[in-house]
């Protein structure tokens, strides 16, 4: 009896690792191995010419971040971008979801339409918006038609990052809208009925029933938003043809990491150190958000 049991156990272990082998292979070679390798790189100067060579430099790469003006600019741009885009896209997503959930006709149609930007690749969206942001382009024409000032969206350092912000709020909000929509279906009708008995109007119901009920989902949406916005790259890269211009106004942390790793020689180790700094920033922002939203829910 005991023998068959162990035999069965062995067989089960064998098939488990057989099933897991492709995942383990990729995990070790392309995820966990690289994480360890990244720690190593962050403490070394890497030379890629000919055979790759590594020179131990201790904490130099990290110390260098403090002296790097472009790193400061990239960090400032990224923080500004996160601070504006995350709240805007979250609120827009919530409002769209609530409107779509109001029981109107044609909801399905609107939902499909709204979701289009989320499906489309960042490369295509960025090109379409660059075309519209053209100095003589659609957006300036519309602004002019309604009497608003026009901008040199692509070339003016004061507005280039805003141009990317607008585009990304527009393209990411629908994704979070769908998450909100799923959560809205779960709110029990009885809550609204009770609020109605208390004489609440539509706005009060939204503010006092819907919003508090969705708090855990909002927390999730904000965390995902933080992670996504901190990693802004494609749009800045395509927008500025890889430079982060005009005048470093669209330079983000990830774009800077890319430049140091693959465009300038001898700075790959420094880029790895920057990547760690970014990962830690994302972690702190996420934890901070968690903490804040927990305190909120005490009320």
């Amino acid at each position: 009896m005991k023998q068959t049991l162990t035999k069965k156990m062995w067989r089960e272990t064998g098939s488990a690792y057989l099933f897991l082998s492709p995942a383990l292979f990729v995990l070790l070679l392309f995820i966990i191995g690289p994480i360890v390798f990244a720690v190593f790189l962050a403490f070394h100067k890497v030379q890629l010419l000919g055979t790759t060579s590594f020179e131990f430099v201790g904490l130099d790469n990290f110390a260098r971040i403090a002296d790097d003006t472009r790193a400061k600019i990239a960090l400032w741009n990224t923080l500004k971008y996160v601070a504006i885009v995350v709240p805007c896209q979250t609120i827009l997503a919530l409002v769209l979801a609530a409107t779509l959930n109001a029981g109107l006709k044609g909801e399905k149609f609107f939902r499909i339409v709204y979701f289009l930007p989320t499906l489309t690749s960042s490369a295509v969206l960025t090109l379409i918006f660059m075309w519209m942001y053209n100095q003589n382009g659609l957006i300036n024409h519309v602004l002019e038609a309604v009497g608003l000032p026009t901008y040199n969206w692509l070339g003016d350092p004061d507005v280039a990052l805003n141009a990317i912000m607008i585009m990304n709020i527009w393209s990411t909000a629908p994704y979070f809208m769908v998450i909100y929509l799923a959560a809205l279906q779960d709110i029990p009708d009885s809550l609204y009925e009770a609020a109605e008995l208390d004489g609440a109007n539509a706005w009060q119901k939204f503010w006092h029933v819907t919003v508090p009920y969705l708090r855990p989902v909002t927390s999730f949406v904000v965390v995902m938003g933080l992670i996504g916005t901190f990693q802004l790259f494609d749009q800045s890269y395509i927008f500025s043809a890889g430079s982060g211009g005009p005048n470093n106004s669209t330079l983000t942390v990830v774009l800077l990491i890319y430049q140091y790793a693959f465009k300038t020689l001898g700075t790959m180790g420094y880029a790895a150190a920057l990547a760690f700094a970014l990962a830690i920033m994302i972690l702190i922002a996420t934890l901070l958000q968690r903490k804040l939203s927990k305190e909120e829910s005490l009320y």
């Binding site: 156990m9 089960e12 272990t13 098939s15 488990a16 690792y17 099933f19 897991l20 492709p22 995942a23 990729v26 995990l27 070679l29 392309f30 995820i31 966990i32 191995g33 690289p34 994480i35 990244a38 790189l41 790759t52 769209l96 779509l100 109107l104 609107f110 339409v113 709204y114 979701f115 289009l116 930007p117 499906l119 489309t120 690749s121 960042s122 490369a123 295509v124 090109l127 379409i128 075309w131 519209m132 659609l138 527009w170 998450i179 799923a182 989902v217 990693q231 790259f233 494609d234 890269y237 395509i238 990491i257 890319y258 790793a261 693959f262 790959m268 880029a271 970014l278 990962a279 972690l283």
Partner: protein
């Protein structure tokens, strides 16, 4: 009272329609520009209907720009391979973690959860060096192998298989099927909804990915569409008619897939997100 509700509803409709217009305009503008002549593009007229409707832009990108069809093919090959491998390997891993008892099961699961939280930028540079060492830069396998599993979907498949009725497997076992047989002939076919959601996300992720090909591929012959499109922009910097036509070709396959699998999409998002 009744009139008040009417106004409220009307207001909601206005919001919905206005936002639908805001969403659609960039696409319609790009579509219309892709059928315009360069002359009209340069003249800066703001009409959504091309004055002189032309297919030349599409002809140009497919005939004159020999590399464009190649980029399309590269994208299809890579996205298709990544999708098939992900479906298979993520499900196998998820199944093992959900159903099989073996030493190392718990730590492995925790590792997969931890991996979910590491931003891609940390592994990007070492990944490049590893691929360089393997001689896999500028190759299909360099694009496919590192992305042929995905921790998010291993996790999702595990959740799916945990709730999967055990009786079916037990019946199959009595009929003499082994683990592999049970998995491929009973479990996998019944996991179709979860697989469909996963397929769409993995395909789109690969199809739209910009950063990975940018780092791994430097030979224009091997470019995927996002990368090709970007180099295209550099080459035809003021030919927005060509650029828009190329963008439309790029977007079409995703739209087709979305129309067919729309309901799995929504399900997939609430699967990976929501709760």
């Amino acid at each position: 009272m009744k009139r008040k509700i009417g106004i409220g509803k009307a207001l909601l409709y206005v919001v919905l329609v206005v936002y639908a217009i805001i969403t659609l305009i960039p696409f319609l503008w790009a579509l219309s520009s892709s059928f315009k002549t360069l002359e009209e593009i340069v003249s800066g007229t703001m009409s959504f209907i091309p004055k002189q409707f032309t297919f030349d832009n599409y002809k140009q990108i497919f005939v004159e720009q020999e590399l464009f069809p190649r980029w399309l093919l590269n994208s299809v090959i890579i996205a298709a391979a990544v999708t098939v491998l992900n479906l298979l390997f993520n499900s196998m891993a998820g199944y093992a973690l959900a159903r099989l008892q073996f030493p190392g099961r718990k730590p492995l699961f925790l590792i997969i959860l931890a991996v979910l939280m590491i931003p891609a930028q940390v592994t990007m540079i070492p990944n490049y060096l590893i691929l360089k060492q393997l001689g896999w830069l500028n190759s299909y396998q360099g694009m496919i192998v590192p992305t042929m599993i995905n921790a998010t979907f291993i996790f999702m498949m595990r959740q799916f298989f945990i709730n999967f009725p055990r009786e079916l497997e037990e019946a199959a076992e009595l009929d003499g099927l082994g683990r592999l047989g049970i998995f491929f002939r009973i479990v996998l076919p019944l996991a179709r909804p979860a697989l469909a959601a996963q397929a769409i996300f993995v395909f789109m992720g690969s199809w739209n990915d910009f950063m990975r090909p940018l780092i791994i591929l430097s030979d224009p012959q091997l470019f995927t569409l996002p990368l090709g499109l970007n180099s295209f922009k550099g080459q035809y910097i003021s030919y927005w008619n060509y650029i828009m036509a190329a963008s439309m070709v790029f977007t079409l396959p995703v739209l087709v897939i979305y129309t067919f699998f729309n309901r799995y999409f929504i399900k997939g998002i609430s699967f990976t997100g929501g709760k």
